[in-house]
């Protein structure tokens, strides 16, 4: 039902003719070749592909961590193709939330402070930062762990803190790079459930890179990258819904 209405939603991500080339020694590596991709608001897109297929490059471009060699990238209607590193930092801060495979929380820093960090760089005052971070932690069910440092949290809890950190700025696009890669099956399911709730219940747009088929099954759309091109792109007819009834 929610899936059917996606067609009418505006585009969050628009890639047109995007190519990325690296110079590696004497050779030029064509990491991405002429990629067109549109992601609409409220989609949960799984980007799958073997290692070396170009999916990481695609992820870095989507996350404004890197610039395409050719083509254009519009994010939430803003052309972010060839911005300076300062402007890209601003785009990452305002428009994108990251969830990484390795959690990437700051060590010896409490969960709350980790979640506050993007707001610090947005220049938001202490009091509002705290409130918003607490709310984000509540959304991932970790309000009672706000004062814990990453070493005091389990892997699943750390990833939930990372999700809260990605959510706290209310970005139009959430990027998750192998978010369950370091977690066991049961915890993976928990994390996926949280991500699905964000998309299906709050209308957040999520691009999720994975190489595991049963995680891709949870997405509404599966994009396969192979040899730097989009190999297949189809809407998942049977979304595996892992959301539980409780919580």
């Amino acid at each position: 039902m929610a899936i059917a209405s996606v067609q009418e939603e505006p585009f969050i991500v628009e890639l047109e003719g995007v190519a990325k080339e690296y110079v590696s020694g004497p050779e030029i590596v064509h990491a991405l070749i002429d990629v067109d991709l549109g992601i609409r608001q409220g989609e949960l897109v799984a980007i799958v592909g073997a290692s070396g297929s170009g999916k990481s490059t695609l992820m870095n471009l989507l996350g404004c961590l890197d610039r395409p060699t050719r083509g254009t990238y519009r994010l939430a209607g803003v052309d972010v193709t060839s911005r300076s590193s300062d402007e890209r930092a601003l785009v990452r801060n305002r428009l994108i939330g990251f969830v990484f495979q390795g959690f990437n929380l700051l060590a010896r820093t409490t969960a709350l402070e980790n979640v506050e960090l993007p707001l610090v760089y947005r220049g938001i005052g202490r009091r509002e930062r705290r409130q918003r971070a607490e709310r984000a932690l509540e959304q991932v069910g970790l309000a009672d762990r706000a004062g814990h440092t990453p070493s005091q949290l389990s892997g699943g809890q750390q990833q939930r803190v990372a999700i809260a950190r990605a959510l706290v700025t209310e970005p139009p696009l959430l990027l998750a790079d192998e978010p369950t890669g370091n977690l066991d099956t049961r915890t993976s399911t928990e994390i996926l459930a949280i991500l699905q709730r964000l998309v299906f219940e709050l209308g957040i747009t999520l691009a999720l890179v994975t190489h595991e088929p049963d995680i891709a099954e949870c997405a509404t759309r599966i994009v396969t990258v192979k040899d730097g091109r989009i190999d297949s792109d189809f809407r998942n007819p049977r979304v595996r819904d892992v959301r539980t009834k409780e919580a």
Partner: protein
């Protein structure tokens, strides 16, 4: 502002996390800042000390010193032209136009005993002109008379320090003290003069007629004296007075033109310039040490900051992915470098303060940790942090978040 504060917080946390490393890193800064502070305090202390003690020596004083020559070969008969005598002082008094008063001075250090105590002090033999020339004044009792001077009477005056050492709190006037085998009657006490620019306590002394000194304290051949002190008729006449005295005594000692004299004449002003020159050399020396230490310390800070940037590439990557701009990252590492050097500066200030306290209360030097020294220490340590923190900060700002995040 809040960016700086939050960077400062991160910096302090990093510093507290590895205290030994931080301490070792800032050792050079510590030494450098301590040297800067000591030099500055020395400069401040000395200029006020030199200025102030000029007055304490008496104004416009010209000194004539004996320079006993022991060159190989020529040996002069004792008591011949070599040495200053009462007669030289008399000739200056008679012939020099720009000299107001002339006084002779001999002294040694002797053991003095009273019924109360036993102490070493300076014993000065002089004449009554000494008091106006050097600006000494009588506190209680009386000066000796010219009759007592001629009669080599065993009378003496005593300075406050010597009085306390020898008589405690009792009034020394009228009491007797003993130097060697002779007893002397104390007839008066001196007003406190404090320290001389040479660092000795001018109040720790006993003064008596020069005749008495030569007769009883230390028998001397002829009427020789250690020093002649004269006061010029005015401050601006001091140079003329020096020239006149020099010419008169050269003539009396039969020293040919161009030959080296066996005495030296120095005005107060010349003393002052000499002292200032010594001070300047000392300052330059210490400041060079400070500069080298600060440079080495700064390089140490830079080195450790570069290591830190490498160690924390991942953290930098995370911060950048979350929206930190390169300048936010640069600011953070700059603040960390400055925090390190500020720590070094604070410790240096503490060390310098301790050294100054030791010099002041232990050795009695008139040194003091002034506000200028503190401002300079703070300023210098911040400056060093900014200069040597620049390169690591720039390197941190150039970290590529994509690559930094890839490294596990």
């Amino acid at each position: 502002m809040s960016a700086i504060l939050s960077a400062l917080r991160v910096a302090l946390v990093a510093l507290v996390r590895s205290p030994l490393r931080s301490l070792l890193t800032v050792l050079g800064i510590l030494v450098g800042i301590a040297a800067v502070v000591v030099v500055t305090s020395l400069g401040e202390g000395a200029s006020s000390r030199i200025g102030g003690s000029i007055e304490s020596l008496g104004s416009n004083v010209v000194y004539v010193f004996d320079t006993p020559r022991a060159r190989s070969g020529v040996k002069r008969a004792r008591g011949s032209a070599a040495g200053l005598t009462d007669a030289d002082a008399e000739a200056v008094r008679r012939d020099a136009l720009d000299v107001a008063n002339v006084s002779v001075f001999t002294s040694n250090t002797s053991q003095v005993t009273t019924s109360f105590a036993n102490a070493k002090t300076q014993i000065v033999g002089t004449d009554l002109f000494y008091f106006p020339v050097r600006g000494f004044e009588l506190a209680t009792g009386r000066l000796w008379t010219s009759t007592e001077e001629r009669a080599k009477a065993r009378v003496c005056l005593i300075g406050p320090t010597a009085s306390t050492n020898l008589f405690g709190n009792a009034d020394p006037v009228g009491r007797t003290l003993r130097i060697g085998k002779h007893p002397y009657t104390v007839i008066g006490t001196l007003v406190s003069k404090g320290q001389s620019p040479f660092g000795d306590d001018q109040d720790d002394r006993i003064m008596m007629p020069v005749g008495t000194w030569r007769g009883h304290v230390q028998p001397t051949l002829g009427n020789r004296v250690h020093m002649i002190m004269a006061s010029a008729t005015g401050f601006e006449r001091a140079d003329q007075a020096v020239a006149e005295i020099e010419s008169i005594i050269r003539q009396r000692h039969r020293i040919r033109d161009g030959a080296d004299a066996d005495f030296v004449v120095r005005s107060q002003e010349q003393f002052r310039t000499t002292q200032e020159r010594i001070l300047k050399v000392l300052s330059v020396l210490l400041l060079s040490v400070a500069a080298v230490a600060l440079f080495v310390g700064g390089v140490g800070v830079m080195n450790i900051m570069l290591v830190t940037v490498t160690e924390r590439r991942r953290e930098i990557g995370i911060r950048m992915a979350l929206g930190a701009q390169p300048r936010d990252i640069a600011l953070q590492f700059l603040v960390e470098a400055v925090t390190l050097t500020a720590l070094g500066g604070a410790l240096g200030l503490f060390v310098a303060g301790s050294l100054i306290a030791v010099a002041r209360f232990g050795l009695g030097w008139s040194l003091r940790l002034g506000p200028a020294a503190i401002v300079l220490a703070v300023g210098t340590s911040l400056f060093v942090g900014l200069v040597f923190g620049f390169l690591p900060a720039r390197r941190a700002a150039h970290v590529e978040p994509m690559e930094a995040l890839r490294h596990e």
